[in-house]
C-alpha cells in the first residue's frame, strides 16, 4: 500500500524497479495463499481445475436431461448426433449424451473414492514403515514390492472376477463399490512409497525432534507433525492416483470386468460401442473423449500443484 502512494510521485524509470519481497506493512502471506498464488501462475492447471469443476456440475445435472439413461426407444436407434440428440443415440435408442452424464457420475465417483481409499492405505503403510523402520519397515516394504511386481490389469481382472463369485458378496455383485475396492487394493503402493520416503526425511528434522523431546506420542508426531508437512507431495500423488483410477475403471469396464450394465460408466458405454463401431462411430468417440479430457485435466492440475508446492521452481522461466 505504501508503495502505491509512493509510486504516484515516482518517475517512469523508478517504476520499473521490482517491488521488494518483504514489505514492512504487509502481513506475511499464509501458506495456502502462497500455494494458491503459485498455482494460479500455471495457466493450464488453472483452466483444468475450472474445467473439472464444470465437468462435475454438468455430470451432476444429468437428471435435468429430457431423456432417461435406461429408457429404450426402438424407433430411434443409431441416430446421428443432432440438435435433439447431441451425441446421437445407441443401439437401443438411448440418448448417448444423457448416458455419458450418468456414466460420468459413476466414473468420477469411482475415481474420487478409489483415490481416497488407496491414498489412506498408502499413507498409513508408508508412515508406519518410514517412522518405525526396522522389521516393520522390512515386512511392509516386502509386501509393497510384491504388489508392485504384479501385472496390474491382469490381477485386477482376476480379483474383480473372484470378488463377484464370493457367496457373501452375492447381493453386491454389480455394485460399483466392488470396482472401487478392486482398484484401491492394487493402487496403494505408490503413495505408500512416497509417504515412506517423506517420513524417513521428516522424522529426523529438528521440529520433530523438538516435539519428541517435549513428550509427544508417536501418533501425534506422525499425524500432527510429519503428515501435515507432507501435504504437497501427497496431494500431487493423489492427482496421479485419481487419473490412474479413472483410466483403470474405464479400462476394466471396457473389458467387461468393471462397472456392470445397466449402470452406465464411461468404460462400459465404450464397451457396448465397440461392437457397433463400424455402423455408429460416434458411439465410440464421445465416451473416450470424456475420459481423455478428464484425465488430462487432472494431470495438469497435478502438474500445477507440483510446481506450487516446490520451493525450487522458478516461475519466471516458465511463462
Amino acid at each position: 500500500m505504501v508503495f502505491s502512494t509512493l509510486a504516484f510521485v515516482m518517475t517512469e524509470a523508478t517504476l520499473s524497479i521490482p517491488e521488494p519481497i518483504f514489505s514492512a506493512s504487509a502481513r506475511p502471506e499464509s501458506l495456502s495463499a502462497l500455494i494458491w498464488r503459485r498455482f494460479k501462475r500455471h495457466r493450464l492447471a488453472l483452466v483444468s481445475a475450472i474445467l473439472l469443476g464444470l465437468m462435475t456440475v454438468l455430470v451432476m445435472s444429468a437428471p435435468l436431461s429430457a431423456y432417461s439413461a435406461t429408457q429404450l426407444d426402438s424407433k430411434d436407434e443409431f441416430a446421428k448426433p443432432s440438435a435433439s440428440h447431441w451425441f446421437g443415440t445407441d443401439e437401443l435408442g438411448r440418448d448417448v449424451f444423457t448416458r455419458i452424464l450418468y456414466g460420468g457420475q459413476v466414473s468420477l465417483a469411482v475415481g474420487i473414492f478409489s483415490t481416497l481409499i488407496s491414498l489412506t492405505i498408502g499413507v498409513i503403510v508408508g508412515a508406519l514403515s518410514g517412522y518405525y523402520g526396522g522389521w516393520i519397515d522390512n515386512v511392509l516394504m516386502r509386501i509393497t514390492d510384491t504388489f508392485l511386481i504384479m501385472p496390474v490389469v491382469f490381477v485386477l481382472i482376476l480379483f474383480s472376477a473372484l470378488l463377484r463369485e464370493l457367496p457373501n458378496f452375492a447381493e453386491y455383485r454389480n455394485s460399483v463399490w466392488l470396482v472401487i475396492i478392486a482398484i484401491s487394493s492394487f493402487a496403494w503402493m505408490w503413495p505408500a512409497r512416497i509417504a515412506r520416503g517423506l517420513c524417513l526425511v521428516l522424522r529426523e528434522r529438528e521440529f520433530v525432534s523438538a516435539s519428541r523431546a517435549l513428550g509427544a506420542s508417536d501418533a501425534r508426531l506422525i499425524f500432527q507433525r510429519i503428515l501435515p508437512n507432507s501435504l504437497g507431495p501427497l496431494l500431487v500423488s493423489g492427482t496421479l492416483q485419481m487419473a490412474y483410477a479413472i483410466i483403470t475403471e474405464s479400462g476394466l469396464s471396457y473389458l467387461g470386468f468393471g462397472v456392470q450394465p445397466p449402470t452406465p460408466s464411461w468404460g462400459n458405454i465404450l464397451e457396448s460401442a465397440q461392437v457397433h463401431v463400424y455402423r455408429a462411430p460416434w458411439l465410440a468417440v464421445f465416451p473416450g473423449l470424456m475420459i481423455f479430457i478428464t484425465v488430462i485435466a487432472i494431470n495438469f492440475v497435478g502438474d500445477g500443484l507440483r510446481d506450487a508446492f516446490d520451493p525450487y521452481v522458478i516461475h519466471t522461466e516458465k511463462s
Binding site: T146, I149, P151, V153, L158, G256, V277, G288, V295
Partner: protein
Amino acid sequence: MTTYITRRLLQAFPIMLLLSIFLFGLVRLMPGGPLAQAERNPNVSPEQLSAMRVRLGLDQPLPIQYVKWIKAFVFEGDWGYSIKFRRPVAEMIWERLPATLLLFGIGFLVTLLIAIPVGVYSAIKPYSLFDNIITTLSFAGQSVPVYWLGLLLILIFYLGFQNPFGEGPMFPAGGMYTIGKEGDLLDLLWHLVLPIIAVSVGWVAWYSRFLRSSMRDILNEDFIRTARAKGLSFRLVHFRHALRNALLPMVTLMALDLPTIFGGAVFIETIFSWPGMGRLFWDAARGRDYPVLLASVMIQAALILLFNLVADILYGFLDPRIRYD
C-alpha cells in the same frame, strides 16, 4: 558381480513366494474350487465327485495343496490344465508368449527411437516453441486411454482411409496375418502398424518427458561445464557426455514400468485381436478358466522380476561408478 546377482536372486525369492501364496489363496477363495463345473453337472455322481477330489488332492489341507502346486509349477513345468480347452496351460502360454514379446519388443524399440531424440532436443532447447508443443502433446499422450486410442486408430485407418497401393483398407483392424499369408514378413509388419502406434504413444510421451528432465539436470552439472570449457564440440558434450548419463536412470524406470506395460497388453491385444498373452488372459477370464489365469499372472510376475534383475545388472555395466561388491 556374482555375489550381487546371487543376493538379488535371494531377494527376489521371498517376493515370488509371497505372490504365489497370495494368488493361490485368491483363486482358492473361489466358491466350489476347481470342481465347480463338475458339481453343477447332474451326470456326475457324488461318488465320482469325491473320487475326483481325492485324485486332484483337494481333500488335503490347503498348505499341502499349495506346496504340491508350487512344486509342480516350478520343478515339473506343470502349470495346470485348462478347464475350457482341456489342454496343458504351459503349452497354451508358450504358444502365445512370442506374439506378445514381438509386439511389445518392437513397440519398445520404436518408442526409444522417437523418445530419445525428442527428449534430447527438448532438453537442449527448453521452453522453445518445439519444447512447449511437445510438453502439451506429452500430457495428451500420457492421458489418452489406450483402448480408446486403439478404437480411434481403427476408425481412421481401417474405415477412413483406403490403401493407396491396392484394394481394401489402409491398415487391417486386427489379427497378426491375413488368412493364407501366415509367415509373410511384410504382411506381419502391415498388421503391426496400428497396434504399435497405440502402444507407443503413451510410452513416447512418458519417456521423452523423463529424458528431458534428467538431461536438463545433467547439463547443469560441473563436468559438463568443464567439458564445454575445454572446448569440446557441441556434439561431443551433448551426446558423448550428457546423453549417456541422462539415459542411465531410464533403465531403472523402464524396469519399474514393466507391470503396467504388460497390463496394457490386455487392452491392445483385445482391440486388435492380437494372438498373445493378453488376449489369452481375457478369453480365460471371460470363461472363468482359473488355471490359465493363475499361470499367466505367475509367469508375467516372474518375467517382470527377471527383467528387473537384468536392468539392475545392466545398470552396473553401463555405469562404471557403481560397484556391486
